[in-house]
């Protein structure tokens, strides 16, 4: 009995790493041209925007919340870029990030101060946000030509693509935030037991608003990077279903949906795992339909292993 419990516990904590290693081994053996720098580059570039969103999502889920609006915030960021790109890339990026900040703070306000459930509050922004992005952009895809802005999506820094480097730095920052700061401790305490946290005198509302704001800003960062890589502002498709990918990565990475725990490295590995699964399926010529069904099975399996025992 205790042996099973220990085993389950171990699987809960390390399952994602085992799965990543297993998939890497499988691909190294059976997939042609897998072990090439070019391939890893492509995989990492594709994974970077998801990772940036998933980092914010991990914090939100750590507080026993969820943010469904991340995809819509990415679309809003994408829609804002062409409006201010005339003034230069920096003002455009700053405006896009501001929109993410405002959207996140708004979510946080609704959840912390008004007391609305996270699912509903962020659902409203999911529904309204993308519509607003499309209204701003007049429903159009806009090609972008500013070379400095596009460089963000194409250039390397120290031999690493800018977006991957950004994602890596953000992962380190979020890890430091959760593990080394009071804010991180408070966040986890609130997710573990909000009532107890309130009674213990923690600034619950402030922390919640902070967490959702961070999530909004990270979604906007992701939207900016994805827009730059696409070389176009496409609010209709930008970040579509991103909330699902991000939640999946976080949950697969071992952060429980019941809050009280944030696993940043697990989240990174969750993103890598889902990217590897997709790449493996594509490289073995499995159609999208099968890929989606397998992803569904992986989500269920991961949550089954990670579920709280009652």
């Amino acid at each position: 009995m205790t042996l099973t419990a220990t085993r389950t516990r171990w699987l809960q904590d390390n399952g994602v790493y085992v799965a990543v290693v297993a998939l890497l081994l499988f691909n190294a053996l059976f997939t042609a041209n897998f072990l090439s720098v070019g391939n890893f580059r492509t995989q990492l570039i594709q994974a970077a925007p998801v990772l940036i969103v998933a980092l914010g999502m991990a914090l939100v889920i750590g507080t026993e919340g969820v943010d469904l609006s991340v995809g819509a915030v990415m679309a809003l960021a994408a829609a804002i870029i062409p409006l201010y790109l005339g003034a230069g890339p920096l003002p455009a990026i700053l405006m896009a990030l501001t929109v993410g900040l405002v959207a996140g703070a708004f979510n946080g306000f609704l959840i912390a101060k008004v007391g609305i459930q996270p699912i509903v509050a962020t659902l409203a922004l999911l529904v309204g946000g993308r519509g607003l992005a499309l209204v701003i952009a007049d429903g159009q895809l806009v090609q972008l030509h500013d070379p400095a802005f596009l460089a963000l999506g194409t250039d390397d820094l120290l031999g690493v693509p800018t977006s991957v480097l950004t994602a890596g730095l953000l992962a380190l920052t979020v890890a430091a935030l959760t593990n080394r700061t009071t804010f991180g401790r408070q966040l986890v305490a609130i997710g573990g037991n909000r009532r107890a946290a309130t009674l213990a005198g923690l600034p619950v509302n402030r922390v919640l608003v902070g967490v959702y704001t961070i999530c909004g800003v990270l979604a906007a960062v992701s939207g900016v990077l994805a827009t730059s890589r696409l070389a176009a502002s496409d609010p209709a498709d930008m970040g579509l279903l991103m909330e699902l990918s991000a939640i999946t990565a976080v949950v697969v990475g071992g952060t429980p949906l019941t809050g009280g725990k944030v696993r940043v490295l697990g989240t990174v590995m969750g993103v890598v795992l889902m990217q590897l699964v997709r790449a493996t399926l594509i490289k073995h010529n499995l159609p999208d339909s099968i890929a989606q069904m397998i992803q569904a099975a992986i989500i269920v399996a991961a949550v089954y292993v990670a579920r709280e025992r009652r």
Binding site: V120, L126, V127, V135, S289, Q292, R307
Partner: protein, 317 residues
């Protein structure tokens, strides 16, 4: 005790009637401002558009009252349509029962996973959202193949036939909502649904079959989403593969607007129907204005959802 009870009743009445009052106001204003709004054609069109969503939202109402959520209905709606269109080549019966069976089975699996393994409804139905979309792509040659339904078949009649100009789907939706309302308020099963969402632990201790109730509501939700898909396919005369993206959110929104609490334990079918009416009237009005592009619809829907939940929250204090 007495005062809290009356306060709760008052809040309940306000919640339900809030949406009703808004609907009456919207209809009255639209009637006065847009001459075409009150025309019989437009009313028929509105009712038909609303009937598909109402069928899906009916199942969602039950799920949400048990304190759960079903994100898979949008995919099941699309899947149901494709299965119906594919099945129509084998006759009316196959076209109608195949989507109900398959979507019902996926709903059943949702229910089993949620009730028996304590996994969060949110994540289980999220997985089935992906799974059902994948299944849909698999049977449509990756979405490239749109099955057509023979225009003279009896199945098309189910979607396009009319009584006094009102389409059959309207009557089906009304009948199902009446049935659903009776099921919720007049039967032991309905009591179990409320008890499950109200206080799950107490319900278990009281001997309410919580697991069975949950399994039943998710199966219902899946079946109804499949039926809505089949009706839509019959109406469109084909199994359109790209519909239903985000429909789960519309369904949740109308249920919440109708006064059903997302925390479970409280809600009405009538409220959901009023919620459907409101969303469809808003969309209709935005179409009537014409100069506003259709993207405003989702902006207005989002704002509306927000206003309703904030009001609900304030009323409950």
């Amino acid at each position: 005790m007495m005062t809290t009870l009356t306060a709760a009743t008052r809040a309940k009445v306000l919640q339900r009637q809030g949406a009703a009052v808004a609907l009456v106001l919207m209809v009255a204003v639209s009637w006065l401002v847009f001459p075409r709004f009150g025309s019989l054609d437009n009313v028929r069109d509105l009712a038909l558009q609303g009937s598909f969503l109402a069928v899906i939202a009916l199942g969602m109402t039950f799920v949400i009252i048990t304190g759960g959520i079903d994100l898979s209905v949008g995919s099941l709606y699309a899947l149901g349509g494709v299965l119906a269109a594919w099945g129509s080549q084998h006759g009316f019966l196959v076209a109608l029962t195949l989507p109900l069976l398959v979507c019902g089975a996926i709903g059943l699996i949702n229910g089993l996973l949620i009730a028996r393994t304590n996994m969060a409804p949110f994540i289980v139905t999220l997985a089935s959202l992906l799974f059902a979309r994948g299944l849909l792509l698999a049977i449509t040659d990756e979405g490239a193949n749109t099955y057509q339904i023979a225009p003279d078949s009896a199945f098309v009649e189910l979607g396009r036939g009319t009584v006094a100009g009102f389409g059959y789907p309207i009557f089906i939706a009304v009948a199902l909502c009446v049935l659903g309302g009776a099921l919720l308020n007049r039967t032991g099963f309905g009591q179990n649904v409320f008890a499950t969402g109200g206080a799950e632990q107490s319900a278990i201790l009281m001997g309410v079959p919580v697991a069975r109730t949950k399994i039943t509501v998710y199966t219902m939700s899946g079946t109804l989403a499949g039926l809505a898909g089949a009706l839509t396919a019959a109406y469109l005369q084909s199994g359109v593969t790209v519909i239903g993206v985000g429909t789960e959110l519309d369904a949740i929104a109308v249920v919440v607007i109708g006064g059903t609490l997302l925390t479970g334990g409280m809600g009405t079918v009538l409220g959901t129907v009023i919620g459907v009416g409101l969303i469809k009237v808003i969309q209709n009005v935005i179409n009537q204005i014409g100069t506003l592009d259709s993207n405003y619809q989702s902006v207005v829907s989002g704002v509306f959802l927000l206003v309703v939940v904030v009001l609900q929250r304030i009323l409950r204090r």
